[in-house]
């Protein structure tokens, strides 16, 4: 059953445009020109219960705007949106008690007070039973290894500790649907990994439906089977992560280590292979998928090869290629 349904969603903003400089500023005092920006332009998708879906796309693609519409923060310009059977912008308490929005760049915790004070406040706001609250808090603090910092002022916590506390604050009411916007932004790799593991565990343990946006492909690769790629306000791709490789990766990577010194010009005869990286004795080639085997055979035949590997393009490269429309080779 679909928990989230989005049909032909559009969200347009009216943005005031100003010419640069003082002259432009004075002019804008008297006459303002507005432009309509299509932040989200006719997107449709649906998400089933328990799914963990990655939203990816370049900055300004419309990912966050979509999450804001799904959370009821923004009124859509057009289209139908339903989350858990509710229309988000009606902001019904029954709906609000079942979802959470976590933004990596902003916090909901009271800055000058220990995180525990914000947790207690959320207990009252979400009307969580005291016993249940204690149990959930114990579970979450254990999963995130937070016990020692709950009574320290939020402003004195590190970014990673704060993000973990943000997660706890957002999950105390055991939401069925989670919208995560860049939850690992600015964190070091160890902390990113911890947050990822936690999200995976949370998703499996509570069958929570999660939408995640991230610029870190590792987040998406590790957590999401399904991805929705958004670009310029429209859905570019919606499917399994593996399918992106099949659909868009028309090239393979050949990593070759040579046993004798070689030069770039030596490879002029192999036209199907483009040198991606030349770092003797190691050379990386990018070749069309269909000619990968024949190029490999030719290299083995004509050159002193010590080692040869045929690899798929990395998901980062493929997505970069998709967004820029450029050939990576």
């Amino acid at each position: 059953m679909s928990v989230i349904k989005v049909k032909n969603l559009k969200k347009y903003y009216k943005v005031h445009q100003k010419e640069p400089g003082l002259k432009g500023s004075v002019k804008s005092l008297f006459k303002r020109e507005y432009q309509s920006v299509k932040a989200v332009n006719d997107i449709s998708f649906s998400i089933k219960e328990g799914e963990l879906v990655g939203f990816i796309g370049p900055n300004g693609a419309g990912k966050t705007t979509t999450l804001k519409v799904l959370s009821g923060l923004l009124y859509p310009t057009a289209g139908d949106v339903s989350v858990l059977g509710f229309t988000p912008f009606d902001r019904k308490p029954a709906f609000q008690k079942q979802f959470s929005l976590i933004m990596g760049q902003k916090n909901q915790l009271w800055w000058d007070l220990p995180a525990l004070d914000s947790f207690i406040l959320n207990r009252e706001i979400y009307e969580i039973d005291k016993k249940q609250f204690k149990k959930t808090l114990d579970d979450l603090t254990k999963m995130l290894d937070l016990k020692d910092i709950l009574k320290i002022q939020v402003r004195k916590l590190s970014l990673g500790q704060r993000m973990k506390c943000e997660l706890v604050a957002a999950l105390l009411h055991s939401p069925k649907v989670l919208f995560l916007d860049e939850p690992t932004i600015g964190l070091d790799v160890v902390m990113q990994q911890k947050i990822r593991e936690f999200l995976k565990e949370y998703n499996q343990k509570y069958q929570a439906t999660i939408i995640l946006t991230s610029h870190y492909m590792d987040d998406v690769k590790e957590l999401c089977d399904r991805v929705i790629i958004i670009d310029k306000g429209t859905v570019f791709f919606d499917g399994l992560l593996d399918e992106i490789i099949k659909k868009y990766a028309d090239r393979k990577i050949l990593e070759v280590t040579f046993s004798k010194p070689i030069e770039k010009k030596d490879f002029k005869t192999i036209r199907a292979a483009k040198i991606k990286k030349f770092d003797p004795p190691r050379v990386t080639f990018s070749v069309k998928r269909k000619s990968a085997n024949s190029v490999a055979a030719k290299l083995l035949e004509s050159f002193p090869v010590a080692d040869l590997n045929i690899l798929e393009s990395s998901i980062e490269d493929i997505i970069r290629e998709v967004f820029t429309g450029r050939d990576l080779s």
Binding site: Y75, Q96, F99, S100, K106, L121, E124, Y126, E127, Q153
Partner: protein, 266 residues
């Protein structure tokens, strides 16, 4: 109700975090009080009567408005404009909580804190400078004054929230340009620095129509017994009507604002 009580308690905890800020704020309040008080003392030293006020009545007015400043005009809801402009409003919109009630709870916390300090400060000031001070002859005037002060508090709360709501359309500098104008108007038209009945009759008719005089001037007139007993009830009814009008306008403007809200800053 419990959630809003928790907000009040959390606001108190938050208010106590910065001790220096807290002390400086109280010092500011006291300096302002002395500025106005000694301004009138200086004028009254030359004349027994100023406008329609004798020295005792006028200085009681100054002390009374100082109390009303702590109760009515102390409001944290100024920050609502900031939250709307920088997108922190998002935090509330996704939760099962009423934004207006949230600010009312925080304002109550702030006002209680203000009064908790105002009262002992006033006791000390009374002991040191022994100002002339009138108590109402009729205790009912005192009761009516307290009722009027509480209604004025609600009036100002909705008014201040309404001003914050304009940040939806004019988010420049978190809504402060409009807020400054409002502060100036209130300083002038609420009777904060001088009583409004020193103005000509025409001006006073206008003051009666506007809501600002009801924040401080009219409650003080009730206290001083300068409003005839049979008109006290009418003044309170007018104030209640203002509470209703300002409540309706501020909630309607807030709802309209949410439609244009961009949830920026995130």
């Amino acid at each position: 109700m419990k959630k809003y009580w928790q907000i009040t308690k959390t606001s108190w905890s938050n208010g106590f975090v910065y001790r220096l800020n807290f002390i400086m704020w109280r010092v500011r309040t006291i300096i302002w009080f002395f500025t106005i008080y000694y301004f009138w003392v200086a004028i009254l030293s030359q004349n027994d009567q100023v406008f329609n006020y004798d020295s005792q009545t006028l200085l009681t007015y100054v002390i009374g408005t100082s109390f009303l400043r702590s109760l009515v005009l102390s409001s944290r809801s100024v920050s609502a404009g900031m939250e709307i402009a920088n997108g922190d409003l998002n935090n509330y919109l996704v939760k099962p909580i009423n934004y207006l009630k949230n600010w009312l709870a925080r304002d109550i916390a702030d006002k209680a804190l203000n009064l908790a300090f105002f009262i002992p400060e006033m006791v000390i000031i009374f002991l040191v400078i022994k100002p002339p001070f009138i108590f109402p002859n009729n205790p009912w005037y005192f009761v009516a004054f307290i009722v009027a002060a509480l209604i004025a508090t609600l009036m100002y709360f909705f008014f201040s929230f309404l001003v914050s709501c304009f940040t939806f359309w004019y988010p420049e500098h978190n809504g402060w340009p409009l807020r400054f104008i409002v502060f100036m108007i209130i300083g002038f038209l609420a009777g904060d620095t001088f009583p409004l009945d020193i103005f000509p009759a025409v001006a006073q008719t206008i003051f009666k129509i506007l809501p600002f005089g009801y924040f401080m001037f009219y409650p003080m007139q009730i206290y001083l017994g300068r409003i005839p007993a049979n008109q006290v009830g009418l003044t309170i009814i007018i104030m209640l009507a203002w509470v209703f009008i300002l409540y309706k306008i501020s909630t309607a403007v807030f709802k309209k604002g949410l439609k244009v809200y961009g949830a920026y800053g995130r």
